[in-house]
Symmetry: C2
Subunit: 503 residues, 2 copies
Amino acid sequence: MAKAPKNAISPTRAEDYPEWYQQVIKASDLAENSPVRGCMVIKPWGYQLWENMQRALDDMFKATGHQNAYFPLFIPMSFLEKEAEHVEGFAKECAVVTHHRLEPDPDGGLRPAGELEEPLIVRPTSETIIGATYAKWVQSYRDLPILINQWANVVRWEMRTRMFLRTAEFLWQEGHTVHATREEAVEETERMIQVYADFAENWMAMPVTIGAKTAGERFPGAVETLSIEAMMQDRKALQAGTSHFLGQNFSKAQEIVFQSESGSREYAWTTSWGVSTRLVGALLMTHSDDDGLVLPPKLAPTQVVILPIYKGEQRAAVMEYIGQLTEQLRGQTYNGAPIRVEVDDRDVRGGEKKWHHVKRGVPIRLEVGPKDIEKDSVFMGRRDQPKSVGMSRAEVVGKIADLLGEVQQNLFDRAAQLRSDNTVTITSEADFRDYFTPKNPDSPEIHGGFAMCHFSDEDSLQDLLKELKVTIRCVPSDNNDTPGTCFSTGKPAEKQAIFAKAY
Amino acid sequence: MAKAPKNAISPTRAEDYPEWYQQVIKASDLAENSPVRGCMVIKPWGYQLWENMQRALDDMFKATGHQNAYFPLFIPMSFLEKEAEHVEGFAKECAVVTHHRLEPDPDGGLRPAGELEEPLIVRPTSETIIGATYAKWVQSYRDLPILINQWANVVRWEMRTRMFLRTAEFLWQEGHTVHATREEAVEETERMIQVYADFAENWMAMPVTIGAKTAGERFPGAVETLSIEAMMQDRKALQAGTSHFLGQNFSKAQEIVFQSESGSREYAWTTSWGVSTRLVGALLMTHSDDDGLVLPPKLAPTQVVILPIYKGEQRAAVMEYIGQLTEQLRGQTYNGAPIRVEVDDRDVRGGEKKWHHVKRGVPIRLEVGPKDIEKDSVFMGRRDQPKSVGMSRAEVVGKIADLLGEVQQNLFDRAAQLRSDNTVTITSEADFRDYFTPKNPDSPEIHGGFAMCHFSDEDSLQDLLKELKVTIRCVPSDNNDTPGTCFSTGKPAEKQAIFAKAY
């Protein structure tokens, strides 16, 4: 595809990354802000992307022995009071239902009526309400493990929102499991973060690091929080999924007790894990460019779009040829499913139509006009490459699955390259300060990237991080066995962590 | 299968139908009441059933040109004030969010804080919030039609709830479409009620009648409401799905305006349509018996369950045989998908295990023990028939898809028979009174059934219906062209309606 004189998205990433992000969402029809503060409307293109993510994840959850269920949207206020850290973490920002009716107002409008005896909270996460149910289900070791997932909406009253990344209402899944032993629960916590990493890398083409959160960054009430962390194009980190080992904290707060095989009465061990529509934002910031969205083929709602080019009476011949081509392409499979092909025969100017699909990130475009048909060939453009090329029909049909596979791999490789180009090991506070100080005053978002540092988690370190607006993303699980000294305090340090600015 | 000495469900349908309903839900693990008033927990078996319904419906929606999207959970209170009938219908029973934070209470608990400037309503249905968005999307006739569906949870503050049939929170889908002409919108309204009828009859094996609601029974704000009505086993009617032609009522309230091809400014025509988890209750009351749930094979989470029978060291041989049988069965397809086979090798007594699957409604059970293996045969039990039969392995593998098809058809036929046995034409008020008066004082639920009556919709008729607790279900669309006289007033009447007691 010949480059247009200027980019489809303004501003470009280099000019203003946060604003570019909003403009890509708009240009690609993923979502828009709604009339309700902090809530978004997920438009069909964005929702199809989420549906494809859901389907892949759901299959992975079921393959690891989980079943879906559904629990109430509301949590009685008293439930939130039971686990001290949890209430501290979630009571601060939630939607509170206090009335169950509207009645006419004297001045002609409506007003709340029918006050509830106990206020209800719109779930910010469901540990408490699900735990109360599990307490009834669990009597004996024979009832364990419980391996359940829920697809649901949740609400957290965020003050500063950004579509997909941080919205008051968002869609997610939350797994909640109960086990007889600590070992089993730890194993489950680790299994599910691996599932997330597998999904991120193999479906989203987004390289991630698995690691443990430090104490200050854990889920409220968790003993350990594992996360997957990805690098966005502005070199900030994004937490893309978390899996929590909750120990016996919630089972003690909620009396999830079972009789063991030997007859003793024991508190169960629980876990929870989740990913959300935030993944759509992560996908966008991992692959997209200054012409709009770039989608990995495995998740793209349309993998191949065919654009007919004709004038007047040429239409019949072109559309007939395209009809055959479409059938042939749909007969091919990629990633275990028939290839998703769309023909765009809308009455729109050719250039505008092409850009429509470029901006929406369709992996492969095929243009077909009368001259191509004479040669039994098509013009093939990959979204991840600048130039289109002519290919015979036989070649494009025979190679289409390979082409999609190449796009998928190329996106992963590019993202992995960016991450490795922008990850350094830092051993002194001076280097650390320098790394996280933006060099270009016009692009305050662009700073160093990921810093791998040995550290001891003390107050003085927290002060430094607060000053530089840097956070400890995670203590990576792999290749992290060599002790060193803390880059800041100089004290002996067993582990290194990823330090980064973050979403 | 030999009959157990007594039924698995107590009370039986004849003894107490409403209580039987609750007990079937409990015995089949579909759902349970939650700690939140009026909200239920949908357990894995119930949720899988709902997922299968969702998948089939979603495919049908997409095949008719619809896409999914997602709109906010909350509706600003002022939005509900715009359409007069609509607010009248929905403002009376809704969850109202008035605060966005919890803070410590002086006596150690929590209390709502951060009062909102404008209360938010948890959506009871989304016409108003989706309409506000459509008003921005629709500018020109080129933007039409909009054909969108949403899978979501909604909340209606019901005072008397019953699991699946009427719960404060329920899951549903709501389609919302916008059209340039009245004709197109009417066509869409009719298309979608046909889709629902197709789903009810061909997937749920539940015969339904399509018809129009009378004025008093319409959706608040609709010009016309079409519904599908089914007869439950207690001869009451259940409205299983509705499709509303909203005319220009909502487009006028929300300014959904477009420029027509000729340049004029016109209000758009809208529709909405929905089915909910209520369908699970409908399914239960259409097919289940005094031994528990009976599931139509097309929707059953497990279509065939294999029950190993062995003692001690017989296990290895039995399980190996079953492993082969399972593979062979999974290699067969029914209704376009591989057959869903489950092997239940839990350490539970044989009888108890069999009843577990009977109560959960699994269509076909195969029992396999050492003696069966010697004969290369299995013992096959159909959930819709009392007796099990011996069959050779080759026969059961070769016939399994046909067997499932026979169960599916038999369930439909039985339900159709019940409906036709309990539908009469009534032409006088005396007969009408008699028909709807329970004959057996021990079973006040069992009354006549459906009455087909010519009618004129006047106040005196409404008084009679109120007295007898009978409602007009719908004016059937088919075979309803012969005028008559109103059974109650004796006045000329163009159409007949189905009159029935109803859920």
